[in-house]
């Protein structure tokens, strides 16, 4: 490790209006320690003053799963032979990750207003760190699911190895949408109100409480426009034998949508980034 491992070692730096920094991505890498520290801070703070601590990561998905199980039972929704709590929790896992990382990344810039108006660093670190913090919650929930599966005697096969791929797509979806929302939120605080709507509505149109094969064929195309459909079906496919058919078509949709979200999200974020300090 060198003595001065951090930014601006580049001897000369020119600041000029509209100048796109050639070193942006290199700068991002240089600031990786700040990224780690911010993530570490958020995790530390999150669990420091809460009495129940880590259990918070579990309570919400567990409760939602319980409620969905009861409704599923009442409505006699088919489970394809998988114990209902497992079927629902396996979907709850990516959905919870998506919704919590989307909401924290969307608010991330505004809640770091003080930092943004006082210190320079690539702002992309902030929403990215927010998504990574949610990833830790995801891992805790995943451990809980493993426990649940052990209790019910559900053993996944080799398909479970594909899980990181679906997680990766979910990460991209949350980050892409989060970048859009957080950058828009800096200028137009209206997007604070859009977010709960997206999350609530998203839960209804994502196959969490039900399975995708219940969706009539004529609605299929519209239904699959939701990138979480492919991701959630992917999770079920990877974790549960025979619960769902391989979700290739919806997964392809998801990947394409997520790629578009991410690329445009980064583009919009970069475009507005330099004015954050002026309007936040």
């Amino acid at each position: 490790m060198t003595d001065t491992p951090n930014p601006s070692e580049a001897p000369t730096l020119v600041l000029e209006a509209g100048r796109t920094e050639a070193h942006y991505w290199r700068d991002l890498w240089r600031y990786r320690e700040l990224f780690l520290f911010l993530t570490w801070r958020d995790l530390l703070v999150r669990y420091k003053q809460t009495a129940v601590g880590v259990a918070w990561a579990l309570i919400q998905p567990a409760m939602t799963t319980a409620v969905f199980c009861i409704f599923g039972q009442i409505l006699k929704l088919p489970t394809g032979g998988v114990p209902r709590p497992i079927l629902i929790f396996a979907a709850q896992l990516p959905w919870q990750f998506f919704s919590s990382s989307l909401s924290s990344s969307s608010n991330s810039l505004v809640s770091s207003a003080n930092l943004i108006s006082k210190v320079y660093f690539p702002r992309l670190i902030i929403p990215f760190s927010a998504v990574v913090v949610s990833l830790v919650d995801f891992l805790i929930s995943a451990a809980f699911l493993a426990l649940l599966m052990a209790i019910y005697g559900v053993v996944p096969d080799a398909r479970v190895l594909a899980l990181p791929l679906f997680l990766f797509v979910a990460f991209g979806a949350a980050l892409g949408a989060g970048l859009w929302l957080t950058a828009l939120n800096v200028k137009y605080r209206d997007f604070r109100f859009v977010l709960p709507f997206i999350i609530q509505f998203g839960l209804y149109v994502s196959p969490v409480a039900f399975t995708s094969n219940l969706v009539p064929a004529r609605w299929r195309t519209l239904y699959e426009l939701n990138p979480m459909v492919g991701i959630i079906d992917g999770f079920r496919w990877a974790l549960l034998r025979g619960a769902a058919p391989p979700p290739w078509s919806s997964l392809a949709y998801s990947c394409a949508l997520v790629a578009v979200l991410l690329v445009t999200g980064v583009w919009y974020f970069r475009k507005t980034e330099k004015t954050f300090a002026d309007v936040i």
Partner: protein, 425 residues
């Protein structure tokens, strides 16, 4: 000291758009303005745009360069563009016109304790704040002991900073920042915090940084600190560079630039400092021993301060007085008409009064002072908040000890005797 500029600023400008109605553009505004765009486009050929937004240049045509190892003060009144300049140099915001060339690693300290989290312990915050300011983990670890020694918080390292006193908090925060080792250090007003002893320590540290060959840009309202630290200063007003040059000269220029009234200040009924109930001040003046209004008084002579006011309703124990402050905002003393006068203790009816006092000779040093007016009813309430009213310059006629200004807030003439001691056997 080599003469190579590490900071070059050319034709720098920063424009902000002010929204008059809403503080920030709301989505609705954006949508309606988009919908109206075609209409506006048609209209724009004939009529001008409605004045709902206004452009404001926080900085305009700013040019200067700073050489390696220089300590430069940036001074100016509030709104002169100092903070905007620092924000551009720190890369927090980008300029609208012109450009800046920086040669070397920049660290900016626009606030003490940026990113400090109250739930985290002192130790955790040192690492976090260090990372925010651009230090690597290894670098922080290497300087960790030095930082806590400087901050004097060893005992509380593992206590969340929310339990820190504000003094401890500031000390810790400054300590982290003080141990940055950038080639260019940008500091804004951070010394306006902490007790006098710690401020002195901070100034010392900044001085040491500068002597270490680093370039320091220092923004402050504390003229004393600017004069002590900086070899050169830049005066900004309304976003432009008014003058740049040796610190003493620029500070003097700044002081005359500020909104200043000498000798006498009178207020119209509408503007007069008042509390709406018992008191309205009409005038404050400084007079020399011969009774004439004085802008400059010799240190060696007495002078009078007079306050004319009207009592609007019967009141007892009303205290009317003033403070004398140095340019750096330190109060030299505070005096009021009740201190020694039994007369003021008595209830007074409505009417006009003049409180007058004599400031003894050989009390104030040669300096530039501000007189602020204030009034209260001791133990009951504040009647008039301290209000800056008058400026006063003092000069010393008879040079003491070879001439030149002595350090210190006061310049008393003391009785000295010199006696030879018997030589030791």
């Amino acid at each position: 000291m080599s003469i190579d500029p590490v900071i070059t600023v050319e034709n720098l400008g920063k424009r902000y758009t002010l929204h008059h109605q809403a503080a920030r553009g709301s989505l609705r505004e954006k949508i309606t303005s988009t919908l109206h765009a075609p209409v506006r486009w048609l209209r724009s050929k004939s009529a001008e745009q409605p004045a709902t937004r206004e452009e404001f240049w926080a900085l305009r045509e700013v040019n200067f360069s700073i050489n390696r190892g220089e300590v430069v003060g940036i001074i100016g009144r509030n709104g002169a563009g100092k903070s905007t300049l620092l924000k551009i140099l720190s890369r927090i915001t980008e300029p609208t016109t012109g450009w800046v060339t920086l040669r070397g690693r920049v660290a900016s300290l626009l606030e003490v304790g940026t990113g400090f989290h109250p739930e985290l312990t002192g130790r955790e915050n040192i690492f976090l704040n260090g990372a925010i300011l651009g230090m690597g983990r290894a670098e922080i670890r290497r300087k960790f002991d030095e930082i806590i020694a400087f901050a004097e918080v060893e005992k509380f390292l593992d206590t969340p900073v929310k339990y820190y006193s504000s003094g401890m908090y500031v000390r810790l925060a400054f300590a982290v920042a003080a141990h940055l080792e950038p080639e260019i250090l940008i500091i804004d007003e951070v010394l306006a915090v902490g007790d006098a002893a710690f401020q002195q320590k901070c100034l010392g540290k900044i001085g040491a940084v500068a002597r270490g060959g680093r370039t320091v840009l220092f923004v402050s309202h504390n003229m004393g600190a600017v004069q002590n630290l900086c070899s050169r200063a830049i005066l900004l007003a309304s976003g432009r560079v008014v003058e740049a040059g040796p610190t003493r000269q620029i500070v003097a220029r700044y002081l005359e630039f500020a909104d200043q009234v000498y000798g006498q200040r009178t207020w119209s009924v509408a503007e007069a400092p008042n509390d709406g109930q018992v008191l309205r001040v009409m005038a404050i003046r400084v007079t020399a021993s011969d009774g004439s209004l004085a802008q400059i008084v010799p240190v060696e002579q007495t002078f009078q301060v007079e306050i004319d006011y009207e009592i609007l309703a019967p009141v007892s124990r009303l205290w009317v007085g003033f403070t004398i402050e140095t340019a750096s905002g330190d109060v030299v003393f505070c005096a009021g008409d009740q201190n020694f006068s039994q007369q003021a203790q008595l209830p007074r009816g409505p009417g006009r009064y003049r409180s007058r006092c004599t400031v003894p000779a050989n009390l104030l040093n040669e300096d530039h002072y501000t007189l602020s007016l204030l009034s209260h009813i001791p133990g009951i309430r504040e009647v008039i908040r301290p209000t800056r009213a008058l400026q006063l310059n003092t000069v010393q006629r008879d040079a003491i000890a070879g001439g030149g200004r002595q350090p210190g807030f006061v310049r008393p003439v003391l009785d000295w005797t010199i006696t030879p001691l018997p030589s030791s056997p």
